[in-house]
Symmetry: D2
Subunit: 501 residues, 4 copies
Amino acid sequence: MSEIQVTGENPRTFPAHWKKCIGTGRLGLALQKDYLDHLKTVQKEIGFSYIRGHGLLHDDIGIYREIEVDGVKRPFYNFTYIDRIFDSFLDLGLKPFIEIGFMPKLLASDQQTIFAWEGNVTPPNDYQKWRDLIKAITQHFIERYGVKEVLTWPFEIWNEPNLVNFWKDADKEAYFKLYKMTAEAIKSVHPEIEVGGPAICGGSDHWITDFLSFCKTENVPVDFVSRHAYTSKPPHKVTPDYYYQELEEPEKMLQEFENVRQMINDSDYPDLPFHITEYNTSYSPINPVHDTTLNAAYLAKILSEGGEHVDSFSYWTFSDVFEELDVPKAQFHGGFGLMGLNHIRKPTYHLFAFFNRLGAKLLYRDDQLIVTEKENGDIVAIVWNLVMNKGEKHDRSLSVQLPVSNGLYFTSTQSISEKHANPWRVWKEQGRPRFPSKAQVDTLKQSAIPYFESSQTEVTRDQLTLHLTLTKNEVRLLEINRVNDETDTYLGLDDHLIDTY
Amino acid sequence: MSEIQVTGENPRTFPAHWKKCIGTGRLGLALQKDYLDHLKTVQKEIGFSYIRGHGLLHDDIGIYREIEVDGVKRPFYNFTYIDRIFDSFLDLGLKPFIEIGFMPKLLASDQQTIFAWEGNVTPPNDYQKWRDLIKAITQHFIERYGVKEVLTWPFEIWNEPNLVNFWKDADKEAYFKLYKMTAEAIKSVHPEIEVGGPAICGGSDHWITDFLSFCKTENVPVDFVSRHAYTSKPPHKVTPDYYYQELEEPEKMLQEFENVRQMINDSDYPDLPFHITEYNTSYSPINPVHDTTLNAAYLAKILSEGGEHVDSFSYWTFSDVFEELDVPKAQFHGGFGLMGLNHIRKPTYHLFAFFNRLGAKLLYRDDQLIVTEKENGDIVAIVWNLVMNKGEKHDRSLSVQLPVSNGLYFTSTQSISEKHANPWRVWKEQGRPRFPSKAQVDTLKQSAIPYFESSQTEVTRDQLTLHLTLTKNEVRLLEINRVNDETDTYLGLDDHLIDTY
Amino acid sequence: MSEIQVTGENPRTFPAHWKKCIGTGRLGLALQKDYLDHLKTVQKEIGFSYIRGHGLLHDDIGIYREIEVDGVKRPFYNFTYIDRIFDSFLDLGLKPFIEIGFMPKLLASDQQTIFAWEGNVTPPNDYQKWRDLIKAITQHFIERYGVKEVLTWPFEIWNEPNLVNFWKDADKEAYFKLYKMTAEAIKSVHPEIEVGGPAICGGSDHWITDFLSFCKTENVPVDFVSRHAYTSKPPHKVTPDYYYQELEEPEKMLQEFENVRQMINDSDYPDLPFHITEYNTSYSPINPVHDTTLNAAYLAKILSEGGEHVDSFSYWTFSDVFEELDVPKAQFHGGFGLMGLNHIRKPTYHLFAFFNRLGAKLLYRDDQLIVTEKENGDIVAIVWNLVMNKGEKHDRSLSVQLPVSNGLYFTSTQSISEKHANPWRVWKEQGRPRFPSKAQVDTLKQSAIPYFESSQTEVTRDQLTLHLTLTKNEVRLLEINRVNDETDTYLGLDDHLIDTY
Amino acid sequence: MSEIQVTGENPRTFPAHWKKCIGTGRLGLALQKDYLDHLKTVQKEIGFSYIRGHGLLHDDIGIYREIEVDGVKRPFYNFTYIDRIFDSFLDLGLKPFIEIGFMPKLLASDQQTIFAWEGNVTPPNDYQKWRDLIKAITQHFIERYGVKEVLTWPFEIWNEPNLVNFWKDADKEAYFKLYKMTAEAIKSVHPEIEVGGPAICGGSDHWITDFLSFCKTENVPVDFVSRHAYTSKPPHKVTPDYYYQELEEPEKMLQEFENVRQMINDSDYPDLPFHITEYNTSYSPINPVHDTTLNAAYLAKILSEGGEHVDSFSYWTFSDVFEELDVPKAQFHGGFGLMGLNHIRKPTYHLFAFFNRLGAKLLYRDDQLIVTEKENGDIVAIVWNLVMNKGEKHDRSLSVQLPVSNGLYFTSTQSISEKHANPWRVWKEQGRPRFPSKAQVDTLKQSAIPYFESSQTEVTRDQLTLHLTLTKNEVRLLEINRVNDETDTYLGLDDHLIDTY
């Protein structure tokens, strides 16, 4: 039983970088109604500022085509779908965090692809055509959305070029060439558009240094640095339906944020923003951890502290409407999404929604607790009990003393745990229906609502003490509002005359 | 601890008369957006067939007016608002259960009014004009909605004429005259329109007999008999803000249903339908009981058994958008509504929503339990623990054995109690804000959701036994679905490899 | 045939004061669904900033009540409805332009009322209670909406106190007393809230001077001056259903704007803003002119030039959901509304929607034409042909030369006239159905759409000449967009191979 | 100038078979939001009963997959997407008209594909797996939607097997084998599910006879016969962007309907229903005719008379959200859709909407006119002026005498022509923007509204004569309603006192 004394002295600003950006399945999916329905709810209840995903140049969106005229192939740029997609994003209050990739089939130098949807990961077969394409899309975005708007969109070049499955041979020199060509093409349209990279993933931090040196040496524009972060260890079981991994401690991810930030600080570009353009526990879209309360409890610390090190970090992804490993084969399948299929909120969804209720003033923060104050004086805290050891079950008790002036207080809590707001568990009880009926979906939706409790407390010594016991992997939101008690204005009120409370 | 054995033998049909009709504040309120928003939700989640309320002829809807031409007043019938109102009802799947009343000011023979909105309760000053009015509205309804539709609308003449505040002097002869004039005017437009009365309230059952004798003797048309039912005793405290009463046992209301049914059976019209066109615990719109779980637990038996005695019984009313005692003065004020102000579902709302999930086949029923089966074989039950004694707190434990074949079952429960789905309690903790902020309303909405739990059980001896403990005034819905277990189809599934459940 | 040469030299800003504020029927109507549906459309297609109407303190909203405690009456302030109303306005992007009035029945010193809805127009019977009420509502608005928001709301004291039907005896001294008491009560809650008056109507301009002198002499706060403006002459026929009047020339209204502005300039408060808090052609809600194209053609000049003289002018009113002369008795009845009953746009609605498409740069303006340029270079003009003489029918022809550079242009026009977008005429053809069926309403909606035409023109000498012939009371919107011609990009295109154009 | 005398004698029922079914782009597109938005509008304003499209078994919906277990591939049926799609259809009031096809890649015996989306058109590589697949989907549909529902869905086997690009080698014997295997697999799940074929296209009517003989000989189940119909001649110009063809006369299509009906009548199955499961003018999705008024005027006769010969005929297709020739490359591109991209109604859309207003009683019909009566006595007619000769421009005048009793009549017309409701023309004036801006789309939408006119006529000799002049390819809806004239009820009405009409 730990006792925590929140003094409220020396408050500082809590940086809300956790909600700057969110990841998405390939952009072509953004034509789908379910995708947009999920995103609308996410924006209403969480409200990210940017969205980033693969596939801007993939053939399903179909921007790059060729038409044969008099025996000569010439490029045709088709913006029918990308206009529809970006219109949808902007309508929902989201700006594109542009990711340039993958390679249109007609421009590809080789046949290597990634994912069920076969994104081509090879360099262009013709750099002039590539530059023309990049200029054309940049120009089109400015024409349609206005230069003022487009100047707020970061353009990140490619995705994870340090991995052989995302960039042919993980060829660093080839990437630097692609980066240079692409960045210069973008800047030729408007020099103030922000470009960046190298969007690497896994343990290749030297790419960061090499990349910045390259930019310096070659005088290539760079406006931000980006990287990804996943904390899962190598899989110990891989099956057609599931992929099982252990996780590193969450501290490891924060440490990685800090390390790379330090590398940038030490480079020729110490002031560049640093964006984590993807992160999650596991990098596998069929790792069941994503459907669990553990995932939420695990990420709580990342959301709480990540913003101290990086300018944005983008959870991968908002929805299980996702096709990297083919069409999802079951209601729950270990997908990345905050929102599961059939519009069912997963525990991690609520973690984000809880963080969205925090105030801007940070009063206290430790490994499993964050306490903030809102503009109107309300205190909002989130507390969690991460238990990573298999089978372990220990609850965690703590007391938190909050500095409030005397008076009545209304405390309400919402909680997610193995017992509540855990539709994955309920779905297992239903017999794991792959394609649940509407009635089953209704039940799952109801099961996905956080547990609510409230109480009224009188504070007499300028201190409100909360005694809390959290079950395994519980995440709890606490909201403390000062009560403006109007009870006395009800004339003749007598609760004793009613047989219930 | 009682043990209940449901055999499932000799099942019969459960008559869903509890959802035939719902009461409403005066019809003029149906122009309001909030009213319609509440009604839309009620219809989606409960789905009544008819709606009945006062004030069809009240001056706010303004059907009856007079225009002076050359010094002579002549009637003008204005259907602007009533068309809008009935259009709204029909769009929501509700037919009007017409109540003819109260008296337009220009037709009133005296000034006596009722309610803050001043419904005039005196006989017409000119029966010819009254008949013309009744014919005009009937004719208009047929023109606008078609004769086929209007033939499904019952026309009830006046409201509670046996009470002096609803009908001047509670003059029975005067009522019979009004009834005859009105019924005959309606039938003159179309002889198959259903007319009825006497819509009495309180302990004046002899009106029923007298009314039917009058119809017989005078050869006056009558197609149904109606009555109201409230089970509250005289108030023991009346204050500007609240009205406190004890309640009779629920059995008393059912007994009253049966008694009147018997009186009809014994009359010259033994086959007439019998409608309870209003019922509730208390007849006061500022009795806090309406906001409580007690109200729900109390009414459970009425919903369960009332339909055995009457053809419809209409809960008074669906929403706290209501003005009989002036504009509501606080979020919770003891109003009749299933739905409170600001779209907050009250416990009794959920009682109705629970009943709406029952199946059509009745397997078992006792004082605090009803067990049904749906067409697809699912078993749905509602169990409750009515505790009327002040201060008493005893929980109730029972076991229920259900006849199901061997296999896996998924049981889900939703529950309302003093602890859960009790926004009235939470509102008290908030300091009883009369006009809550949007944030407070959000919290109240969240607090109003029933508590959800679920589990999976394996049945091995053709019997599923549920062990239940209900807290004071808890009402619980139980849904038992046979599981079609797909677990084995997940290749490589191994829940032990994930650190949570 | 006039020839107009628009040079585009010395452009200035077109002040969009015409859309600062819109009038509404009494605020209590804002609870109605139809009212809000109309307002939502108005805001989407026109987009006013403020809304002003009577009845804030009227008893249907019920803010002021008294409760008897121990034989003593004490005030009770009920914000249930006004919160709902202001929430709705703000949700639709509208701020309240507060009008303090009329008198709650319990505070009235006499029984004189106005309108079918009986607004009491007498001074308070107790100035202390009045001040307490004013403070209470001001305080409540700040608590609910925040001080920052409320500081953007003007508070106008009373309505048309110079008319005996709006203020008992049109007693100027009594009004000044009310003004002082009210303004000081408001300022006591927050000194920066804007207060103003005297909201007079008709030919009593000396009230303006007297009012400002009074404020100066008595040191009473005043932050703006307000007045109303109607241009109808005394009625020549008054019937139960209709009220007929001739109109003054539109110039007369503009002259009145200018005169009062000058009076303010010459006062001790030369810098005060001046708001026309009501204007229209006729002040009668049953003058058929409001339903006609004439009304639109007449007001075009007011919208075009009014903003040069006043800081806002508020058309009275946005919708025929209105009850001053009782519930509307027919689909079209001469109501003030831009939007008629059943969501049917009237010609004047389109006038406002046309003005909403104008650019901010004013290129040219005369009596029947306004030409503007938008930020993107598009030219948008409105031209009209006001014909006030009865029976007269002359069309008007003109040519307009616009300064545009060489190239292709797309010109589209929308037009309202006696023939098109004139649902009033169509309704007459339908037999003037008072309460039209849904099918008739659908036809009226379709008839209410402006006539659309478009063409493509090639400009070769830096000048685009439009030859226009307008029918009687036609109002036409002209939009000229430079064409970015993509025709050549369609390979193999050959329009001659298709049998139509 | 023709004179047409409609006597109204011997009326018969107008068979509404034209609205039984509608075509769609491949089913996978039904996941898209725009697709569903278009379909929602179509259903509201036209209201088809069934929807039919390709691609049920195509790999983008992904029903058929294989999973390797212990080195053995076994089938996995994924219903995630098809459930979503059929749920959407049913929510919109549409039942699937099932088309079994094309071949999942994993079951294909060869690599031949059709369309940009690469539908495989080869026989199964393993008939056992194919039968299992067919059974599995049929069984799944019954489980999810209920047997009662699925029994109303026709199952058509394959699409246009008589064409080499739709069925490898157009191998008839291979098709018959596929048909037999598939039909029997379906019937093995439920013997009452309707199966049919052969869904041929073009001039291969002998397939009909052969198919029915085959069924008879082999005792293969067959419940309906299906065929397609297009009336375009071979192309005279084919370009990357457009495909130009002349059209046969519309009579030719009707003759084809009749011929095949006769073949069925003469077969061993004379009572089988006959469905035209696709028809249009041109079979090319880039023939500009589809965007024109000509297309509407051409099809009018088909809609008017087609239902006399066939049980359903399904226009191909409802929307330009369609990908057979890749992502559409421009706003207008000659697509099949009733609805163009960006929710713009094309002329043929209105043709269907006009037909949807016709009554059930057929009073008169000729080549360019259909006159009907509605249940309420309203007369509704459609008249058109098809001009197929290039360059020709002649208007057509006619008079129509309608048998109505004396009284006042309100006549309203809606019209589409080269001038009105022709967004294709307006888009050309805009410079044919491939990816129009939102402002351009708004203009196009406005331009797409039919021209409306109305008038009132007094009938004195039991005959209403309409004098009509139609421009080239105009299609006009005429609605004649008897007027219930309320003019006299307006007291004091005097239209002469208002300066406009």
